[in-house]
């Protein structure tokens, strides 16, 4: 976790020991130390109830931390009301003002700041051009499609050039195709405008596509904060491994640990060598995580030396288009998934005995589940 190691001068926002409880008994955010770097696209990812939205609301000023401090730049904003924070926000259901036109909606943050009429006109026009919606300026939000409303909400949150823009699951209400299009559009705006974005989602695909860094939340705690590829390739615990992407889990006991690798005896028989990420001592139980696309299927006993090999029975082949998913019964895991590249499954049939092979580098021993 390199968030804590960041030089504080680079951090735009710092959460220091923040806790939040609504009922006085249960902590929604248990202990949050988080730095948000200037200019980055940070995603708060996690299942519902993990504390990610509460974190965003505390940053926006709609919730007050029960404990701890939040710094924007050098000053604590714990007691600053939302309207004085200068933080733009895009809401889940857009929250466009229904009684105002698109133009008036986008102009709102400027007019409340007392910007001159001519400048408002100019900046609103520019903002609407940016989202390619100049032609609907005089319409009302109800007359726009979901995607158009989303773009207007973006323009409204960006037009007053805030230091920070927060987005609370902004694409949740859009269909898949539009959502993918908007992901790219938001990414483009982030890059061209050089703004800092904090984005909340529970969709891991969205997080991986858009983010510079992702903070994975679970149970009120940041489990891991890292770049998308690091998060995917090197999860630090089994929650992250299972939440981001697909993962096969095997349970076993550590036999020995040597130079970052460990030999694990599987509960169902056989043993494998794995990267020791988060294990106790020898004899401790651990769970192993292997990505489906990092496993090969062997029909004979050939292949590279140094690979872990386990016997398995092919249960099912699922055609997914760009790849084929093989479901196998492996020792200790009856639903072991392997992703086969398109066209690589000829000659396989259900019920066939095969060998699954994977490198120790691709098999990570994480905390016991």
């Amino acid at each position: 976790m390199d968030g804590g190691m960041m030089a504080t001068t680079q951090a735009l926002v710092r959460f220091v020991g923040v806790q939040k409880t609504y009922d006085g008994e249960h902590l929604v955010v248990k202990s949050l130390d988080l730095d948000i770097r200037k200019g980055e696209f940070l995603t708060l990812l996690g299942p519902s109830g993990s504390g990610k939205t509460t974190t965003l609301m505390m940053l926006a000023g709609f919730e007050v931390p029960t404990h701890g401090e939040i710094f924007l730049g050098d000053r604590s904003i714990k007691n600053t009301p939302p309207h004085k924070r200068d933080i733009g926000m895009v809401f889940q259901n857009y929250a466009l003002f229904p009684h105002l036109t698109i133009e008036e909606n986008v102009a709102f943050p400027l007019t409340v700041r007392g910007v001159s009429k001519a400048e408002v006109k100019e900046r609103v026009t520019a903002a609407l051009q940016m989202i390619k919606l100049e032609n609907v300026a005089s319409r009302h939000p109800g007359q726009l499609s979901g995607g158009q409303q989303q773009r207007v909400a973006l323009a409204r949150a960006l037009v007053f050039k805030p230091a920070l823009v927060l987005m609370d699951e902004p694409l949740g209400a859009l269909d898949k195709r539009l959502r993918e299009h908007m992901q790219l559009e938001i990414k483009r705006l982030h890059e061209t405008m050089g703004i800092t974005v904090v984005y909340v989602t529970h969709d891991q695909g969205e997080a991986l596509t858009m983010s510079d860094r992702i903070a994975v939340f679970n149970d009120g705690i940041v489990q891991q904060i890292d770049s998308p590829d690091a998060l995917y390739e090197r999860p630090v615990n089994s929650f992250v491994a299972n939440f981001i992407g697909e993962s096969n889990v095997l349970a076993g006991t550590v036999e020995n640990i040597e130079q970052g690798f460990c030999r694990v005896a599987l509960a169902a028989g056989g043993s494998v060598v794995a990267t020791a990420v988060n294990v106790g001592g020898v004899g401790a139980r651990t769970s192993l995580s292997v990505r489906p696309e990092r496993v090969s299927l062997l029909t004979s006993d050939d292949g590279d030396v140094g690979f872990n090999r386990l016997p398995a029975t092919l249960k099912d082949l699922i055609y997914v288009g760009d790849h084929t998913l093989a479901v196998l019964a492996a020792p200790g895991n009856n639903e072991f998934m392997v992703k086969l590249p398109a066209g690589a499954y000829s000659g396989l049939s259900e019920g066939q005995a095969v060998t699954i092979a994977f490198r120790p580098e691709d098999c990570r021993a994480l905390d016991p589940v």
Partner: protein, 416 residues
């Protein structure tokens, strides 16, 4: 060829659609028919009857039919001809025999004060039909009023079949001897004042309800459900109590020896009891209390639909709470404000019992006068005319509201 196919294929389809639609429409009609009939008999027909009574002028044509016919070509400048006098004498004798003189006398008395006596005494004293050619002299001999143009003008003006007399009277206008519309003499002109008073009280009560109801509705819409339900019960409680009981409760509270005066005197704030009831203050107090739920409920239903996200969005965009309220929240509550105000105002201007019980003589509203004319003097014409004017002003108000509401919708929907 193609065209024939298209037409051939289209016709049965259209017919089928119509048939399917017809069944649906008939079912819909069947569902609304009971209410439609109910409204027809309990609302449309009575209202139409009321409006008809405000212009209906049946008394004189029925009692003095020949006189009315004889006066039809009278120019109104001089006294009418001998024929008219003879017709009147005949009509009066017939009316006396039938016992209907009083009906016409009462109607004519509205126009010229004292006509009642003229008509009844003439009818009583006219023992035999006057000799041909002497009717004029005989009648003038019996009562000199028959020699005055005004008496005859009154009969002509009341000779139906319809008259604007009551409607004019309801707005303090009348016709003079020459038929020109003039203001009613000052000592008889009261209805403009009464209407003005009615609308003033209506506006006052509406404003008070809005002022008191808006914060309550806001609280109701924004509190957690459990607390909001509790508060809602308090709002609805007056609804479940009889109007008369509530009004009487105000009398108990506000009267000279009542709770308020008693407490204030005990505290030494005042020495003499304040006059809190049987005046305008009492009317405003009691009516606002009674009508408050009608303001709160429409406001609440509109506020309920305003997502709290709007206020959050406004705050995140830099608007201080007051600005966010004025520019974002308040405009979205306007449909509720409009509906609530319209409802309270229309109910208020028709109020009768409450002002009658807690108001003074100078606080009676138009309904009190309508009740007076229907139950005390049985002047259905004037009662109906006052009712018609009240109905008309209500309709105008509803139309203005509809226009404003529709205008908002139009700019909301089709501005571009």
């Amino acid at each position: 060829m193609t065209a024939a196919i298209v037409v051939g294929a289209e016709m049965p389809l259209k017919r089928r659609l119509r048939r399917a639609e017809r069944a649906r429409q008939l079912r819909a009609l069947g569902l609304v028919l009971p209410l439609f009939l109910f409204l027809l008999f309990t609302f449309v027909i009575p209202i139409a009857g009321m409006i008809w009574r405000s212009v209906d002028d049946w008394e004189v044509p029925q009692v003095l039919p020949h006189t009315v016919a004889a006066l039809s070509d009278w120019n109104g400048q001089d006294l009418p001809s001998e024929t008219a006098f003879a017709a009147l004498a005949g009509d009066l004798q017939a009316a006396r025999a039938a016992g209907t003189v009083a009906v016409a006398a009462k109607r004519l008395n509205y126009v010229v004060n004292g006509s009642r006596t003229v008509l009844t005494s003439t009818a009583r004293n006219l023992k035999t039909a006057p000799e041909p050619g002497t009717a004029k002299a005989t009648l003038i001999g019996l009562n000199p009023a028959w020699g005055e143009r005004a008496t005859w003008a009154a009969i002509k003006s009341a000779s139906g079949p319809v008259t604007a007399y009551y409607l004019l009277g309801a707005v303090d206008l009348t016709r003079d001897v020459n038929g020109a519309i003039v203001a009613t003499p000052e000592d008889q002109a009261i209805y403009r004042d009464v209407f003005a008073r009615t609308f003033t009280i209506g506006f006052g009560v509406t404003a008070l309800c809005l002022l008191l109801g808006f914060p309550v509705a806001y609280l109701l819409a924004n509190l957690p459900t459990a607390q909001s339900n509790m508060l809602m019960i308090f709002v609805l409680l007056p609804f479940w109590t009889s109007l008369l009981v509530r009004t009487c409760a105000w009398i108990v509270i506000l009267q000279g020896e009542g709770i308020v005066n008693g407490s204030l005197q005990w505290l030494g704030v005042i020495d003499e009891p304040l006059r809190l009831i049987y005046n305008r203050f009492g009317v405003y107090m009691a009516m606002t209390h009674v009508l408050l739920p009608f303001m709160i409920l429409p406001l609440y239903s509109v506020m309920r639909s305003i997502s709290p996200a709007y206020m959050r969005a406004a705050a995140s965009l830099g608007a201080p709470p007051a600005t966010a309220f004025l520019r974002i929240y308040l405009p979205q509550t306007i449909p509720g404000i409009g509906a609530g105000c319209l409802l309270v105002f229309i109910l208020a201007i028709g109020y009768y019992i409450t002002p009658a019980l807690v108001g003074g003589a100078g606080d009676q509203m138009i309904s009190a006068f309508i009740a007076f004319y229907t139950t005390e003097t049985v002047n259905w014409g004037l009662a109906s005319a006052l009712g018609a004017v009240l109905l008309l002003s209500t309709l105008v108000l509803a139309l203005v509201y509809g226009k404003l509401a529709l205008g908002r919708q139009t700019t909301g929907g089709l501005k571009n």
